[in-house]
């Protein structure tokens, strides 16, 4: 039989057994916190500053002619782990393209905001914005259709948002872009949302 030697903790001292020093220490700690800094954001007035890679509501991009960029390839739907994307294609008589989505729906309630759709998109047609105000009065309203997703694009056109190239694979393969440093890719691929204190927010503004 093998013997495992276990280092038992020493017996508690009297002070420790009384718990009183520990309790007082705890009280001191909470006391300090009462007068300490507040980390809560006052939401409607203050908004959190997210990193570029925050994954919020989707948008469907428009090309330089203001038309939907999506070609209804359904790669996003294929890669979606929540099966929340529904696409039906139709034919158009555009000189450079002939397939666009007739129906493009994302069920934002089913969506888990993983960003796979952005990564899968070969056309860079779907992005995730930093919008997180997802409000609707019914489940049906939470199914965002083509109009709504394109409208979000118009709202967030200026925003620098999470794009397909921000994911490691695609980023490394885009020629003309400087070769991605692996650490950088890692950082981009896994969005880190830090706590932004009021002070920081003010500093940012």
């Amino acid at each position: 039989m093998a013997t495992i030697n276990v280092q038992r903790p020493e017996r508690l001292t009297l002070a420790e057994r009384l718990y009183l020093p520990a309790i007082l220490n705890g009280l001191r700690l909470t006391w300090r916190h009462i007068w300490g800094e507040r980390v809560t954001l006052q939401y409607p007035e203050e908004e959190r500053q997210f990193k570029r890679v925050y994954r919020g509501v989707h948008r469907l991009n428009k090309d330089d002619k203001g038309r939907v960029k999506c070609v209804a390839c359904e790669m996003c739907a294929a890669s979606c782990p929540a099966h929340c994307i529904t696409i039906k294609a139709t034919e158009v008589e555009w000189p450079e393209r002939d397939k666009i989505p007739k129906i493009f729906e994302i069920d934002e309630l089913k969506c888990i905001f993983c960003g796979y759709c952005v990564e899968a998109c070969p056309e860079d047609a779907i992005h995730m914005t930093r919008h997180y105000h997802l409000i609707a009065r019914s489940r049906e309203d939470m199914i965002f259709g083509l109009d709504k997703l394109l409208a979000i694009y118009d709202e967030t056109k200026e925003q620098e948002v999470l794009r397909g190239v921000d994911f490691g694979m695609t980023h490394a393969r885009i020629p003309g872009k400087e070769a991605a440093n692996p650490d950088e890719v890692q950082k981009l691929a896994y969005p880190v949302v830090g706590v932004v204190t009021k002070a920081e927010t003010q500093r940012a503004q």
């Binding site: 070609v71 209804a72 390839c73 359904e74 790669m75 294929a78 294609a89 139709t90 034919e91 393209r97 002939d98 397939k99 070969p122 056309e123 393969r173």
Partner: protein
């Protein structure tokens, strides 16, 4: 029977087989674009390179050769995985992808595209090509076939198919060298009933059927083994289903019947499933009009008429029924008056067509004529139909006009006609009770073709809610009639 070694596995190939076929027997896939077992070998894509070691003038010689035009020979040692072979495959793919637009996102072939699969399996992810790409516009070739010229890899399959297999030869390669392009002669579009096979035969997405254009991505489709009900040939098909709708029909290989192809009549027949004239609820005649009814009422009307005078009942079967339904119909007839049912011969007959490649289309445009005639030997015109006759007609014909005007006239003479059908047509118009049945894509069953080969098929889509399977209806009727007999109701002694 030549015996050889392919990648270390010993293979005995049938005489005349080429190395692609032989390797397939050993479970080894040799990539190829231009080779198709039903077509002449041209070895133009140069994708199927293998390394063959063979005795030439007494000493073993190793050379790189295309597998498709190398007949299997005794003592060959074939390698499909050596460095030169891999390099050759890689190089060929690099060449092919120079001008290919790689527009997989909008291409309907994506998912079943050989170029896509091979580029993934044998190619590299990057290309060294940095010149201007060739660009060609898509064009319509006729017969609902569109050529996305840009995607074409000039494997020549379509040209050979139309020239050698179909014999019409509408397509040809024009221009020279890098300017090569598949096209039709001006003013002479593709016009033959096998044109629908072109998208299937095309290894990339160059030839696309307008019927399936942008309809669905193929990986979302669920193929269901089916049999074409378009004629007595009984071609094996796949019905590709998505969202409870048949999206397209594809040929299913069956060397005994249809080889690799099906005709366009059968290919586009699936549109009838969701046709606007589809019968979707039972109807019972009230005065001059057929009124929407429910199954219980409709069947009650039928059973009461059947039970009034069973000896005057005539059960009619159509050659559009499956074997199982025909059997059940015969059983009902036996229960009623102990005799065999009659049949209404299919009136839709055309001259049979055959093609140089061996494909044939039967003249009889019903799928199960031979079997139904066997089950119900008497044709309608040999039956006595008077004012007192009660006719129960299992029609379920997919085509208008399958009942000849003469037969329709005989039906009109009868006192009471109940029809099970799938479409509103001239026969349902003269019926007293119309019961909605199901189409071949909505039920499973068996068809026997003109050569007597039975093939079974499965249900692909859910039927409209109020329709019922014909066998089910026959069983229900049988049940109701036997109940009526046993309870002493009606006029059955």
């Amino acid at each position: 029977m030549p015996t050889m070694v392919i990648d270390g596995r010993e293979v005995t190939a049938p005489p005349g087989a080429n190395l692609i076929e032989a390797a397939k027997l050993a479970g080894i896939e040799i990539p190829h674009f231009c080779y198709h077992p039903a077509l002449k070998v041209v070895a133009s894509c140069r994708m199927c390179f293998v390394e063959v070691t063979q005795e030439v003038r007494g000493k073993p010689t190793t050379r790189l050769t295309t597998a498709c035009n190398t007949p299997a020979a005794d003592g060959m040692v074939v390698r499909t995985d050596t460095q030169p072979v891999k390099k050759a495959q890689n190089d060929i793919l690099e060449f092919l992808l120079i001008n290919h637009p790689v527009d997989c996102p909008v291409c309907d072939e994506a998912g079943e595209c050989k170029l896509q699969d091979y580029a993934f399996a044998y190619g590299t992810s990057s290309s060294r090509f940095a010149e201007h790409r060739r660009f060609r516009h898509a064009k319509k070739l006729g017969s609902g076939i569109r050529l996305y010229t840009n995607r074409c890899i000039l494997c020549d399959r379509c040209v050979r198919f139309l020239r050698d297999f179909v014999g019409t030869g509408e397509l040809s390669v024009t221009d020279m060298g890098n300017g090569n392009e598949i096209s039709v002669f001006p003013g002479r579009p593709i016009d033959n009933v096998l044109a629908g096979n072109l998208p299937e035969i095309c290894p990339v997405g160059a030839l696309i059927a307008e019927d399936f254009l942008f309809k669905a991505r193929v990986w979302n489709l669920r193929p269901v083994d089916s049999v074409c009900p378009g004629c007595s040939r009984g071609c094996a098909t796949f019905l590709d289903v998505k969202d409870n709708e048949v999206q397209r029909t594809r040929a299913r290989e069956n060397q005994a019947i249809n080889g690799y192809f099906i005709c366009d009549d059968g290919r586009y027949l699936y549109h009838v499933i969701r046709h606007e004239t589809r019968l979707e609820h039972p109807a019972v005649r009230e005065g001059d009009q057929l009124r929407e009814s429910n199954w219980d009422h409709a069947l009650d009307v039928v059973v009461s008429r059947l039970a009034e005078s069973p000896e005057r009942v005539v059960i009619l079967l159509s050659p559009f029924l499956t074997e199982e339904e025909a059997r059940a119909g015969a059983h009902l007839s036996r229960v009623l008056h102990g005799s065999v049912p009659g049949h209404v011969p299919n009136a839709l007959r055309e001259a049979p067509v055959s093609f140089p490649g061996g494909f044939a289309i039967d003249g009889d445009k019903a799928p199960n004529s031979a079997f139904v005639q066997n089950m119900a030997p008497v044709p309608l015109q040999d039956l006595v139909v008077t004012k007192d006759t009660v006719i129960l007609f299992f029609n379920s014909s997919l085509r208008i006009g399958s009942v000849s005007p003469r037969d329709a006239e005989i039906l009109r003479r009868a006192g009471f006609v109940a029809v099970i059908d799938v479409l509103w047509n001239d026969i349902t118009a003269l019926a007293d009770v119309v019961l909605p049945g199901r189409m071949w894509a909505e039920k499973s069953g068996t068809f026997s073709n003109s050569a007597g080969m039975a093939q079974s098929f499965g249900a692909a889509v859910l039927p409209p809610p109020l329709t019922r399977d014909e066998s089910d209806v026959i069983m229900d009727l049988t049940q109701r009639i036997t109940t009526r007999i046993s309870t002493g109701g009606g006029a059955i002694p």
